[in-house]
Amino acid sequence: MITLARRERFVLYIMLGPAILGLLLFKVWPIVVAFWQSTLSFDFRRQATVFVGLRNYVEILTDPIVRDSAKVTLVFNLIINPLQVMLSFALALLVVRPVRGVGVYRSFLMAPIATSVTVTSLLWGLILNPSFGLANGLLSKLGIPPQAFLTSPSQALASIILLATWRGVGYWMIFFLAGLNDIPQTIYEAAAIDGAGRWSMLRYITIPLLKPVFAFVLVADTAINFLMFAPPYVLTSGGPMGSTNLLMYEAYTRAFTYLDMGHGTALTSLLILIVLAIVLVQLRILRAHSSD
């Protein structure tokens, strides 16, 4: 570590200044703006923006649309996060062993990573199209009648879970692969000498040693899925019947479709608080892991 002489302090400011000021301005200040804006409302009688305290929050929290949206977001996250964690772990187990052609398989599994969430939504919108989609085409070959998918209130959220999972698991698999490669091979060799089978090795060695990876992936994945926006925007406009109205999309429509910044930012502020709570958990996991 280098200590700069007093007359050289400016070097530090030049190097650190732009990044720190940029982070403060573009990442931290917006949070302040969100909380400030959320206490304002446009008063039509006085034709002016007035301070209303917590009124926007009370209105948001008692709004049945927001409540339904929160429910949808909760269900979405309770399903998609464990699902993605388990699938990406299973995938990592499949491709970690040096079987022939594993490099090709790995590249195939990572192809969806190059597909943005927006393009994934677009592509799966065509796949799940009820009349012309590939999904109903393949189902017809299996003798299964066509499904409504994104146009059905009972299937739309599941369809979005499917497409987001298609895109997400290859990405999270990378973290499990890195974790698996960090486990020394000698542990398995010792266990094999003691007569441990494949399942007991998985149960008593691999999974316990990967606990920090599981925790990290679950939390980081949750932070992203909690704010999922593109699928409802591109595919369903939150419908049918609000069944895919995720909270981030609801916040967006409040702010930019109905131009209701007061309620839009109140909802955003609540999302910020939840995300910050998730991030604090994430930080604790990183800290616990790095102090090992």
Partner: protein, 286 residues
């Protein structure tokens, strides 16, 4: 004693079941993009004819032509959107490497007060997904008068906690002696940075560039609200509009999807190692 068990075990121990599982998963990963690829080489009537009623030819390239791609670039503003995204990517990488590289160096090598707190700021900002501050950031950008400008699309993306973190990791492994002895020899800070540090920065620079590239190529919510004019449209926003505009021109939609996936793929495949190492280590290692 003849047992069926050893036979079965040998089946499970053989790699056959593993390959079957891998093929199934690989197929599921690639089939959507394969379908998009072959369909982009047909004309729209043909695409629909193969799909309803469904025939296996929907998954095969029959009479391939590049007409959809030609139409995509001549009859829509896709080319412009792609150029916009490319420009934004390049500008953000250029600014991002300098600004975050310098900060990463300061965090790795200098002793100063408040470092812990500032580094916590760095960590938190890269863990908070950008989407959640997009709406209030719009209010700030409005105050700055940057709505519908390239500034809005580039400048807020330059300071990047993840990239600072990456550079700090790299520079922490450079011995202090190397810098201090250059200092004793009378080298100025710009000389040290340019002659010693920059040449050592290649791995982190590649990783950081890839991360910035993927991020700016795929970003959607921010350009949608901050710069949604035909001239400034980014590739993702343009594609999301196509879906409404070209409901009957699926070949064009498929062509757009394929181009938008192919560009990052062509960059990522040769540099896969850097990207994978980058995201895996920033996730897990302090």
């Amino acid at each position: 004693m003849v047992h069926p068990a050893p036979r079965r075990r040998s089946f499970f121990q053989s790699e056959l079941w593993l390959h079957l599982a891998l093929i199934a998963v690989a197929l599921f990963s690639v089939l959507p993009l394969w379908w998009a690829g072959v369909s982009s080489l047909k004309d729209s009537p043909r695409v629909f004819r193969d799909l309803s009623p469904f025939s296996w030819e929907a998954l095969l390239p029959t009479d391939p032509s590049l007409d959809a791609y030609i139409a995509l670039f001549t009859k829509t503003n896709f080319g412009r959107a792609m150029a916009n995204s490319a420009f934004i990517v390049i500008a953000t990488i250029a600014g991002g490497l300098v600004v975050n590289g310098l900060a990463g160096f300061a965090f790795a090598k200098f002793r100063f007060r408040g470092k812990e707190a500032l580094f916590l700021l760095v960590l938190i900002t890269f863990m908070v997904p950008f989407e959640v501050i997009a709406i209030p950031l719009y209010i700030l950008i409005q105050t700055l008068g940057w709505v519908n400008t390239y500034y809005a699309l580039i400048i807020p993306a330059i300071p990047n906690g993840l990239v600072i973190f990456l550079f700090r990791q790299l520079y922490a492994s450079i011995p202090d002696d190397l810098i201090e002895s250059a200092k004793i020899d009378g080298a100025s800070w710009p000389t040290i940075l340019w002659r010693i540090i920059v040449p050592l920065s290649k791995p982190a620079s590649i990783t950081a560039s890839l991360i910035i590239f993927v991020y700016q190529w795929e970003v959607f919510l921010w350009p949608l609200i901050a710069a949604n004019t035909p001239d400034l449209m980014t590739i993702q926003v343009a594609l999301s509009l196509f879906q409404q505009e070209y409901q009957t021109l699926w070949d064009r939609l498929f062509a757009g999807i394929i181009v938008s996936v192919l560009v990052p793929l062509l960059v990522l495949i040769p540099l896969q190692k850097y990207y994978v190492q980058g995201i895996a280590t920033t996730g897990m290692k302090e």
